[in-house]
């Protein structure tokens, strides 16, 4: 295999998939860092976001790209509502109870999508998506958009967390929630803010997944495993780790067909997760919560 077909058939799809996993994994890692529990409704929240894009673009005639910000806000508000309705009162119980609850929320979100849109495969209307040839590299326009927008989102999130007052408050609470409240930081506000960001990131990951593959009710559940694999591989609580982990899982998944049957491709993330737990359970960037 020559280098350009390796790039065309494995590296580029891997980076696209990896960027989508990275967005999801950042959300997973934020939930771990602030709320300190595993969030299994994450994938289905992404599905919800993807369908929100469909809803807003279909009802208003906007392009899916323009509908994304609205869908991101909708998914964020949905996440806040879910937290308020189902998770808040579990906060004093062991965290695993919230994780169990999130499994139920996953089922509920999926059922909502299936009630309103059914189980058929849909797609976004973005016009023709013919690959363009860039010096022998075949790249589709929406692939460029995906990578550029993912980078943009990550940079924006990084700036928010490093330099804004509430971003720092999130980091403070992730670091030491008791001390944060001694500083007068209202933990409930930080939690709501975190869910807003997590919901928006979910919507973005769902949208980009739908843009590059299809929009269907199980799309999010199917990326739950690689998303968690990316978050744990990168080191739970580490955003830079989630990005690197996402890219590794995405690229490995695309390359896995070189060694295993394509039916098992979707298990790549699972295998990486097992290897990470066996070899380096704290992740590549030593995660702080284990």
């Amino acid at each position: 295999m020559d280098i350009s077909s390796f790039i065309n058939f494995f590296l580029i799809p891997g980076i696209i998939l990896g960027s989508i996993y990275a967005l999801g994994a950042i959300g997973v890692t934020l939930v771990y860092a602030i709320m300190r529990h595993g969030h299994f409704a994450h994938g289905d929240l992404a599905t919800f976001g993807a369908f929100m894009v469909l809803l807003f673009s279909a009802s208003s005639g906007l392009s899916p790209y323009a509908a994304l910000p609205i869908a991101a806000v909708a998914a964020g508000l949905m996440a806040i509502a879910i937290d308020w309705l189902f998770y808040t009162h579990l906060r004093t119980l062991p965290k695993i109870i919230t994780t169990i609850s999130s499994l139920g929320v996953a089922l509920m979100l999926r059922a909502v999508v299936q009630i309103f849109w059914g189980v058929n495969t849909l797609s976004y209307e973005t016009g023709i998506a013919r690959p363009e040839n860039w010096f022998g590299l075949r790249i589709k326009p929406h692939e460029v958009v995906t990578v550029v927008m993912v980078i943009g989102l990550v940079v924006a999130l990084e700036i928010f967390l490093r330099h804004s007052k509430w971003g720092k408050a999130m980091r403070a609470m992730s670091d030491n929630p008791d001390l944060a409240s001694l500083c007068g930081i209202d933990n409930r506000k930080v939690i709501a803010l975190t869910w807003m960001l997590v919901g928006a990131l979910c919507a973005a990951s769902g949208f980009f997944l739908g843009l590059n593959t299809q929009v269907k009710s199980l799309m999010g559940w199917n990326i739950l495993l690689p998303t968690f694999a990316a978050a744990i591989l990168g080191g739970v609580g580490r955003i830079e780790g989630a990005i690197l982990g996402g890219l590794i899982v995405g690229i490995c998944e695309e390359m896995s067909v070189l060694v295993i049957r394509s039916e098992y491709k979707v298990l790549s993330g699972f295998v990486i997760l097992l290897l990470a737990l066996l070899i380096r359970p704290t992740g590549l960037f030593r995660g702080k919560v284990l």
């Binding site: 007052k165 720092k168 408050a169 980091r171 403070a172 992730s174 670091d175 030491n176 008791d178 001390l179 944060a180 409240s181 001694l182 500083c183 007068g184 930081i185 209202d186 933990n187 702080k288």
Partner: protein, 235 residues
């Protein structure tokens, strides 16, 4: 002297069992008060009770005329009282500078003057402002923790064993810092294991035993009290 902080007849604890029994204490303006007593006397618990970190069953806590009994910690901070816990008192994954900024979280607008004062008080931290707090030594972390608490310009500062585990050199430095803080008009309350040293520099002291007031008085009086010396100071 009108008291800035008054605890009257506090009883309370973490679960069903009370740890504090009918505990009373007063702190006046610009005063340094040391709380001493044997292990398990409830010194740290007394301090936490002021900050709303345990269940108070009876009694009241008044800061500068405001009854704060039963308030949540994030609200108590607004009443002009700040607290430095004994352990985990800095944000390890944040820089020294960010720790100070977090201390000023409740301040709206420009707080560069407060930052400047803190850096003046801890000149060593000026050079370390970009370092992660988790990478500092125990003594330096204590300075970050105190500096963080000073960012809100509190009227009363509560320090829970600020010298625990520090070398004598750092201990002296922390005590000196406390005097400096007092000279800026802040009252301090310290829980101390090093009873002798603490009484030597505090204005007044409270001796606790089994969650109750044992005795109190000026630092010098307590130091010279034969009974206290035998019981608690190991003299």
């Amino acid at each position: 002297m009108t008291a800035l902080l008054t605890m009257s007849s506090i009883s309370g604890g973490y679960g069903d069992a009370d740890i504090l029994h009918d505990l009373s204490m007063e702190v006046g303006a610009r005063e340094i008060v040391a709380i001493i007593g044997p292990n398990g006397a409830g010194k740290s618990t007394a301090m936490k009770s002021i900050f709303g970190l345990l269940t108070i069953r009876s009694g009241t806590i008044v800061v500068d005329g405001t009854d704060i009994t039963g308030w949540a910690p994030s609200r108590i901070v607004r009443s002009g009282i700040c607290y430095v816990p004994q352990v985990a008192n800095v944000f390890y994954d944040m820089t020294v500078h960010e720790n100070f900024e977090m201390g000023a979280f409740l301040r709206n607008g420009d707080y560069s003057d407060a930052l400047e004062r803190v850096y003046e008080m801890f000149p060593d931290m000026k050079a370390k402002q970009k370092a992660l707090a988790g990478s500092l030594s125990g003594g330096q972390r204590q300075m970050v923790a105190i500096g963080r608490a000073l960012m809100l310009d509190p009227k009363v500062l509560l320090l829970d064993e600020p010298t625990a585990g520090l070398s004598p050199k750092y201990m002296e430095q922390i005590f000196q810092t406390c005097r400096d803080i007092r000279n800026t008009g802040v009252a301090l309350v310290l829980v101390e294991q090093h009873a002798k040293q603490a009484l030597r520099f505090a204005d007044r002291g409270y001796v606790l035993a089994a969650g109750r007031n044992r005795c109190d008085g000026t630092g010098v009086d307590l130091l010279n009290n034969r009974f206290i010396a035998e019981m608690f100071l190991g003299a």
